[in-house]
């Protein structure tokens, strides 16, 4: 099993604290380049800004499968769209954000990461049903302070800092820095039997855009999207069993069977399940349903690519703070590491 401990959690912390809104992934890209360069045989930054790294196998080349692993670098956030003067700015959201998470939150703005807050009308000055209505986005402002100097077009992200709490981590953008960190760890201990093609892709949150061209560049034999999926394992308000939890924290990596964008390759689904069983690694199936990952874009690229998704579960998706279990991440790395070692051409041979 791969090494797992403080060094891995430190890397995840660094990645989670970095801000990389879709279209502005530079801060994470820099960390990724530093981490992969010593281990990869080829590294390039493509036309959209994704980092594409290849590590060739050490066995006879005609038997080596090209296996693409994808994790997206970007996270949801904001863009400044108008300057109201005196440090107050109008903004739009980038990616799927519930506006109810915004009022009263701390953010960092622009290249300088200037501290700011999201403010709105004080509750005391509201009447009647104004207090119970959702605050619309256009009633909120990013407040940088009186002499703040943000610019229209600046990106902004949540200012939440990563922390470890008991068996968990609490952080912004676990989706998908935990996937990015997973790929880096797998590269450091890459198996000899495959060519490992790593796509640290951009713009997943606004339409799976980086992964599509990454797949076209790599032209892999098969692909695995490594992401983080919501766990809705909360109690119901009234009596009854929660039957739409998607995934549950603590049950291990979530293997996808079907989501809103992909019917995941059944051969790969079974293969991951068998690997987990054989290696005694905990796993769960994500409840089939909506949502999607980069697998949707990858599977339909080129002449079609057998694709599956594996996610580390997290609660409170696209909010200022998400929660994941450290053990689930460890098991995800272990499962993928074990699976990569077992990949042979027979896995996806056409009958």
């Amino acid at each position: 099993m791969p090494t797992f401990g403080n060094a891995q959690l430190k890397l995840l912390e660094k990645l989670c604290n970095a801000i990389a809104i879709s279209g502005d992934e530079g801060e994470v890209r820099k960390i990724v380049l530093e981490e992969v360069k010593p281990y990869a045989d080829e590294v390039k930054v493509d036309a959209l800004g994704s980092v594409l790294a290849t590590k060739f196998g050490r066995t006879r080349s005609e038997n080596r499968m090209r296996v693409m692993l994808d994790a997206h670098m970007d996270e949801v956030g904001f863009m400044i769209v108008a300057d109201d003067g005196e440090g107050l700015y109008r903004f739009e959201t980038i990616g799927g954000i519930d506006v109810r998470h915004l009022v009263g939150k701390q953010v960092l703005v622009g290249k300088e990461r200037a501290p700011a807050v999201i403010g709105g009308k004080p509750v005391h000055l509201m009447n009647g049903d104004e207090r119970t209505r959702k605050v619309p986005l256009d009633a909120l402002r990013i407040d940088t302070g009186l002499s703040g100097k943000a610019k229209v077009g600046d990106y902004a992200g949540f200012a939440t800092k990563f922390r470890r709490v008991g068996p968990s981590i609490m952080s912004k953008s676990i989706d998908d820095r935990i996937g990015v960190a997973t790929l880096i760890e797998l590269l450091k201990q890459s198996p000899p039997n495959i060519d490992l093609c790593l796509a640290f892709s951009v713009q997943e949150e606004i339409g799976l855009r980086g992964a599509k061209v990454a797949a076209q560049y790599f032209n892999p034999d098969l692909a695995i999207a490594v992401d983080s999926t919501p766990a809705y394992d909360l109690p119901l308000y009234e009596e009854g069993e929660n039957i739409s939890y998607n995934t549950k924290l603590g049950l291990g990596p979530a293997i996808y069977i079907a989501d809103g964008s992909t019917l995941h390759d059944p051969r790969l689904v079974r293969f991951l399940q068998e690997t987990a069983e054989a290696e005694k690694i905990p796993y769960q199936f994500r409840q089939p349903g909506g949502g999607g990952t980069d697998s949707g874009a990858i599977q339909r690229s080129l002449a079609g690519i057998p694709t599956v998704s594996v996610s580390v579960p997290h609660r409170y998706t696209h909010s200022p703070i998400s929660i994941s279990r450290v053990e689930d991440w460890k098991s995800t790395i272990n499962l993928l590491h074990a699976a990569l070692k077992r990949i042979t051409p027979a896995l996806i041979a056409v009958r």
């Binding site: 009263g104 700011a116 807050v117 004080p122 209505r133 703040g148 709490v165 008991g166």
Partner: protein, 354 residues
């Protein structure tokens, strides 16, 4: 003038919810002790600091008061390791989803870093709606396993905001509980200024408890100390997003001096004339009936106490990102100190109605 920002940041980095003010009271007592002749606690937990004047006994006294309690939350029920919550004081529920909080776990005497979360609509009764969720639908997640939560946390445990202070551009500080810890900072500036400014009157600096619920601290301390006059310090609404009405005042542009039934007009006149003389910028805040501050309670204590209300503009009141201009806090402190040192022994006799 002393730089009050470090102390203000420490004041908004601790809890001290209404009725449970000890963490912040200890911090204030430590800072005030070298500045006053004695400190003690009232029966209900307010902090009294006495700085003696130079006048002959029996000396008149002025009470300068600001509440130190903060609004927050409390655990009302525990289900599968998730905490249901209720409010302590006037909580703005719109700011709760995604807020960082500390659960003060009484079972293990630990402070658990936690987050307030919003369950998906499909887990809630239809009546919950898709707008702002009422507080009873929200949950707190400690990140711990349910069996550990059951051991550590009890119903009734406090939950306080936990986001760290943020220094914004242009001398603005943002954080939770600036209402009313910024006023505590202003009283501290006043006490610092009085170190080098002779004054005839005794000064009672008072950090009151439970303003956000019942004004208990203000009324009980005013009763115990029986000052001849009182000045209460609290926040006014600053102009900002969605806040531009007659009740709002620009940040960093000066001190608010309040008029209305809760305030003695003579004290207001003295303070505003003094501000003019000292060229301290000030604005007139009118409160038509109830000021919603400790001034309301102090005025009717014992035989009645002439009371003034001095303010500074505060943005985003009752959210975890309240914001004030440090300059305004310094100005409030300075005005109080100058006023106190201007008090003649017979000032009370000069208070006139018409």
């Amino acid at each position: 003038m002393t730089d009050i920002l470090p102390f203000l940041k420490s004041l908004i980095s601790v809890s001290g919810l209404s009725g449970y003010e000890t963490p912040v009271a200890d911090l204030i007592a430590e800072r005030w002790r070298p500045l006053v002749d004695e400190t003690r606690m009232s029966r209900v937990g307010s902090l009294h600091g006495l700085k003696k004047g130079r006048g002959v006994l029996p000396r008149p006294s002025v009470m300068i008061a600001a509440h130190m309690d903060a609004i927050g939350l409390r655990v009302s029920k525990i289900v599968n390791g998730f905490l249901h919550i209720t409010n302590v004081g006037g909580i703005d529920v719109r700011v709760l989803p995604g807020a960082q909080v500390t659960v003060h776990a009484s079972g293990s005497d630990e402070e658990l870093p936690s987050v307030i979360v919003m369950p998906p609509a499909r887990f809630l009764p239809e009546s919950a709606g898709d707008g702002v969720l009422a507080i009873n639908y929200l949950l707190v997640d400690t990140g711990l396993l349910p069996r550990d939560v059951e051991k550590k946390v009890h119903v009734g445990d406090l939950v306080s905001f936990a986001n760290e202070p943020l220094e914004l551009a242009g001398d603005v500080i943002s954080g939770h509980s600036l209402d009313n810890r910024a006023s505590i900072a202003a009283l501290t500036v006043c006490l610092e200024e009085l170190q080098n400014k002779p004054h005839i009157w005794d000064v009672w600096a008072v950090a009151t408890v439970q303003e956000e619920v019942t004004f208990l601290g203000a009324s009980s301390s005013a009763f115990e100390l029986r000052p001849q006059i009182a000045i209460v310090v609290d926040g006014a609404f600053a102009k900002g997003p969605g806040a531009n009405g007659w009740q709002t005042f620009p940040l960093a542009k000066g001190v608010g001096l309040c008029i209305g039934p809760n305030m003695h007009p003579f004290l207001h006149k003295q303070l505003s004339e003094l501000a003019e003389r000292l060229e301290i910028p000030w604005f007139l805040d009118v409160t038509p009936s109830h000021s919603g501050t400790d001034a309301f309670a102090v005025q009717t204590t014992a035989e009645g106490i002439p009371t003034a209300l001095v303010e500074y503009p505060l943005r985003y009141m009752h959210t975890p990102v309240e914001a004030v201009a440090v300059k305004d806090i310094q100005r409030v402190g300075r005005l109080l100190a100058e006023f106190i040192s201007s008090l003649e022994a017979n000032f009370v006799d000069t208070i006139v109605w018409e």
